[in-house]
């Protein structure tokens, strides 16, 4: 277990260091999410309810996550790094966990900016939205990382990822929007937590088959 954690930490550190040196993903995600929020401001006709804006926040976050996920396995693919990682004497699920952590970090970074911007542009922010976003991030990172690894094997990678990921993300949106707008968000937050746990377990168990033959 400690070995596994050590592997995860080393691999996640590698991803974060790469990002710190290259700065490809996070600035793009930040710009994208702010631009999307501005677009949504004009997409909503004047006098639209705050509820509609809450829903659009989730669309913006989901697409931002998708942007980050498309980049997740680029380095591995271009440099043929994934083969080397698979050959390395570590549990393959550590690769998934590390990549998921890196995606989670990028997502959190984008949201630390996006949520205050949303509060500024639109109707303000409630604690339940923040809690929903935090729980949804875990699910997005877990499922998205696996889908990203899958899409990396296909021919039309950038095209394939949204197709694979969006149907799986529909429950996240339902739970997240419900948590943002409902009077009693407990059920929705509970649902998001359930989603995280269920999908994290199957991603953890099945990642091995995605990267090996």
């Amino acid at each position: 277990m400690t070995r596994w954690l050590g592997d995860v930490r080393a691999l996640a550190r590698k991803d974060l260091l790469l990002e710190l040196r290259g700065r490809d993903t996070l600035p793009a995600m930040l710009l994208f999410v702010v631009a999307t929020l501005v677009v949504f401001h004009f997409a909503l006709p004047a006098g639209s309810s705050d509820l509609a804006a809450q829903g659009l926040l989730w669309v913006a976050l989901l697409f931002t996550a998708l942007l980050g996920l498309t980049r997740a396995f680029v380095a591995e693919r271009d440099q043929r790094l994934l083969d080397a990682l698979v050959l390395a004497p570590c549990d393959r699920s550590a690769i998934w966990a590390a990549k998921g952590l890196a995606v989670l970090a990028f997502l959190a970074g984008a949201e630390i900016v996006a949520l205050p911007v949303f509060a500024l542009f639109f109707s303000g922010l409630t604690w339940q939205t923040v809690a929903g976003v935090a729980l949804a991030d875990l699910g997005i990172a877990a499922v998205g990382t696996l889908m990203s690894a899958m899409a990396a094997a296909g021919r039309a990678r950038e095209l394939l990822l949204p197709l694979l990921f969006l149907p799986l993300a529909i429950p996240i949106v339902i739970g997240g929007v419900g948590a943002s707008v409902a009077d009693h968000p407990g059920r929705y937050l509970g649902f998001l937590a359930l989603y995280d746990v269920v999908f994290a377990i199957i991603c953890w168990a099945s990642f091995e088959y995605v990267v090996t033959e």
Partner: protein, 211 residues
């Protein structure tokens, strides 16, 4: 033959529904088709599991064919459900109809399965990826069902409750025949398609040997 018998029963034997009239008869098509689609998806996932777990030869192809048939039945469900919704609620599409929405999500999901399958070169890796994705499908069914149930109010009639089916004996008998007919139809299609695919594969191998 079972299919013919099922249609005959559905059209002539069952008493016309007092509330919805003739249109209620589509129930005997819509619900069995939907259940058959679930059965196909479940079967596909089971074969996928066998592929990943036991490394059984050919399980990948069987899983793919089952999902293929399941998607066809899924489209039929969407179509019949939409027609029924039009007749009884006056709209082609009703978002609060949670079963139909679930089918739409599943339809999108399994269409992506085909995209995944056709964008990867055939080989062990494709088999693995498709199997993993098919397994995600069966997990997605209950999760989305729960989500949609959380999100919506109910106007979909619920026939099967905890107290058993809420219908008369003749209706239930017809329903069972229809369900059996649909399952038989799906199984036949599955066998035909599977034989075809296997023939294809053998033909290709032969050609490669000759070339």
């Amino acid at each position: 033959m079972l299919v013919c018998a099922a249609f005959a029963l559905a059209f002539f034997y069952v008493p016309t529904d007092a509330d919805q009239g003739f249109s209620q008869r589509i129930f005997y098509l819509h619900v069995p088709v939907a259940l058959t689609a679930y059965a196909c998806f479940g079967w596909g996932a089971w074969k996928a599991l066998l592929h990943l777990w036991k490394r059984r030869e050919g399980a990948d192809l069987e899983s793919y064919v089952a999902i293929h048939i399941g998607v066809i039945f899924g489209i039929l469900t969407l179509a019949t459900g939409s027609i029924w919704a039009r007749i009884s609620w006056g709209k082609w599409w009703v978002w609060s109809e949670k079963q139909l929405v679930l089918f739409l999500v599943l339809f999108l999901f399994y269409s992506a399965y085909f995209m995944l399958r056709f964008s990867i070169e055939p080989g062990p890796q494709r088999a693995n990826l498709c199997a993993v994705y098919a397994l995600f499908g069966v997990v997605l069914i209950p999760v989305s069902f729960l989500a949609i149930r959380l999100a919506q109010n109910f106007i979909h009639p619920v026939v099967f409750t905890r107290d058993g089916p809420q219908m008369a004996a003749s209706q239930f008998a017809t329903f069972c025949v229809c369900l059996a007919a649909m399952l038989a139809l799906a199984a036949t299609l599955y066998m035909v398609e599977l034989t075809g695919k296997r023939l294809d594969e053998q033909l290709r191998e032969l050609r490669e040997l000759l070339a």
